[in-house]
């Protein structure tokens, strides 16, 4: 009699889907008595579906995100405490980089299996065409922008129709202006949005606005990829998952460049942004023992190595090996040397409602910078409401 383990996944795109199938196959090979049943959901639909299946028909393992994104489920008692798995397998050491993101009330609520860096992706051909070099300071970056503008090229592109791309931009401006700790305080609701320190971030933000692609609010992040690919834009602040799209568009390891977001305040230790994807056990799981086995399995360095090679992302386990893709390597290098800290992402660090309001504010600011005061007032009110609960 075999034991059944139900796993709900959001890996609807072909590459991740294959990666997870492999993961499951490997797990079953090691545990022949366990039968893993995978339910694959549409990537976007998963975000709403999880609410329902957690309460109505809980599986044994679910996919989710670290940080504040998992907080509502933890608070509602829908996720199981998996501190014992962490303790048993020494994960506090091997997964130390994400320990804080996985911890609420001193307990761990899931196991991270992958993450990926954000940073500045650039079109080297455009740089060459305009005759400038990538700059690692903010002044240098803005000076380059001036040059690109003169050449009729968007210095920085993005597609903010879905809002979240601009959150990456804001996160970096914030991390570079006020540092990681401050950024965490901000996303934890400890700093008023009307504070001067916040304005300082937006002051830097405003400097780059003239060089951002017009109509960014009308397009999706994939459209902005085309801008970069077609040489209409020079830089794109994005997550590493976009590399596949850049390459699909015809860019190569040579023409596509990557760097860490430029320094604004040199006194501040460099922090980076790297969202983490995680696995959790629902409180209502029918087979929690095998689920814990599965989580422990997914935390193992060798497993993470294989899985992330297939995903094209970075393993969380410090003992795992990073794939040899140059962008992955660069990202791994960048993250492992980030002394300032590693942020998840605005919508994982801040509670969902704040995240939504914030991202809308960022987008509005990019279109109408003159409304900054009104936007900050609004965000402050939202902060007071959201964190009060």
């Amino acid at each position: 009699q075999s034991r059944v383990l139900v796993f709900n996944s959001n890996a609807s795109d072909p590459a991740p889907k294959a990666a997870f199938e492999q993961l499951v196959a490997d797990f079953e090979a090691e545990n022949p008595e366990i039968d893993v049943q995978v339910n694959t959901f549409d990537h976007e639909g998963y975000k709403t579906a999880i609410r329902n299946f957690l309460t109505a028909d809980a599986p044994d393992v679910v996919f989710w995100f670290a940080g504040n994104r998992m907080r509502p489920f933890v608070d509602a008692g829908q996720f199981m405490d998996v501190s014992d798995v962490w303790a048993e397998h020494g994960l506090t050491d091997s997964l130390s980089s994400t320990l804080s993101a996985m911890t609420i009330d001193d307990k761990q609520w899931g196991v991270p299996f992958t993450y990926y860096q954000w940073g500045v992706y650039m079109n080297r051909d455009v740089y060459a065409q305009v005759g400038v070099e990538p700059a690692d300071t903010w002044e240098g970056f803005l000076a380059n922008c001036e040059a690109f503008k003169a050449a009729g090229i968007d210095c920085l592109t993005t597609g903010s129709k879905a809002l979240w791309p601009v959150a990456g931009l804001f996160d970096y401006l914030s991390l570079r202006t006020n540092g990681y700790d401050w950024h965490m305080q901000l996303t934890n609701g400890e700093i008023p949005w009307t504070d001067d320190s916040v304005r300082a971030v937006f002051a830097e933000f405003e400097k780059v606005l003239p060089y951002v692609s017009a109509n960014h609010a009308a397009i999706d992040w994939q459209d902005a990829v085309s801008n970069l690919v077609q040489g209409k834009a020079a830089n794109y602040v994005m997550g590493n998952f976009a590399v596949a799209s850049f390459k699909d568009g015809g860019m190569t390891d040579d023409s596509l460049g990557f760097m860490s977001f430029p320094t604004i305040n040199p006194d501040i230790p460099r922090a980076e942004e790297a969202p983490t994807d995680t696995l959790h056990i629902p409180a209502g799981a029918k087979n929690p023992d095998d689920a814990k086995l599965f989580l422990a399995f997914a935390a193992r360095p060798d497993v993470q190595t294989t899985l992330n090679a297939a995903l094209g992302q970075l393993p969380v386990n410090a003992e795992a090996t990073v794939g040899d893709d140059p962008f992955l390597q660069a990202g791994f290098e960048m993250l492992s040397t980030a002394e300032g800290g590693i942020a998840q992402f605005f919508d994982r660090d801040a509670p969902p409602e704040m995240a939504k309001a914030g991202m809308e504010g960022f987008q509005e600011f990019m279109v109408r910078p003159e409304r900054l005061d009104a936007i900050l007032d609004r965000l402050e009110r939202q902060r007071q409401r959201v964190y009060a609960q």
Binding site: E44, Y46, T48, N52, A56
Partner: protein, 281 residues
Amino acid sequence: MFPRPIQTMSPAAQRTYKIVLPIMLILWLLPLLGVAMTSVRPSGDLAAGNYFGIPSRLAFENYADVFRNSPLAQYLWNSFRITIPVMFGAVALSCLTGFALAVYKFRLSLLVFFMFVAGNFVPFQILMVPVRDLTVDLGLYNTITGLALFHIAFQTGFCTLFMRNFIKALPRELIEAARVEGVTEWQIFWHIVLPLVRPAIAALSVLVFTFIWNDYFWAMVLTTGASTQPVTAGLNSLNGQWIAAWHLVSAGSILAALPPVLMFFMMQRHFIAGLTLGAVK
């Protein structure tokens, strides 16, 4: 201008009318024609910036691509699996309710009738939270059954309004004549009323088909994922995947629009009768 048939106007006016007519039509359907054209444009044309010119060739493979690279076929199939049972269910229920409300005089008759009518008009957003909950509780969340059950219930409001008014317009004497002859109420319903409201049933079926096929909101609320979502919701998620692939979006849109359009063409008379008789959506 209305009361004046064009035939009584000058030949020049008649000729102008006949020329303006197709021009108006083309302008009116311009967005649709544009999309239809895009749907057969090879992706190469789009990449080369040929958005409006003559397509370099007719790329019907776009349609094949849509089926090959996406679960559109599944979505379409889901749509049928939802729409057709709802069509039967809602029409059947409303024949019963419409009969009861049209034929019997009882104290609450008007009240019940207005309840159906008002329910049909409510912004369905107000139903969203409880209905979603109910569906989750019934274990029907993300199932075709769950979505169909709701649609049947909700459409019953409109369909009752429609059937009741139609049955009410039948001569009362037909029913009285049958009663005098000792025909039971159920027999009256089955042997007399149902055969006589066949045109209404046809009209209603076409309408319900279109309404349900085109529903998007409830599909978003009660289903997730390709195994259950109808083509409207499916198209939305595909739209997320097909960024910048307008030829595929267009082909998908055309495919999603086809069944109700065909239905309309085949059942035009019933459709229009339904709209104007029921007069409400």
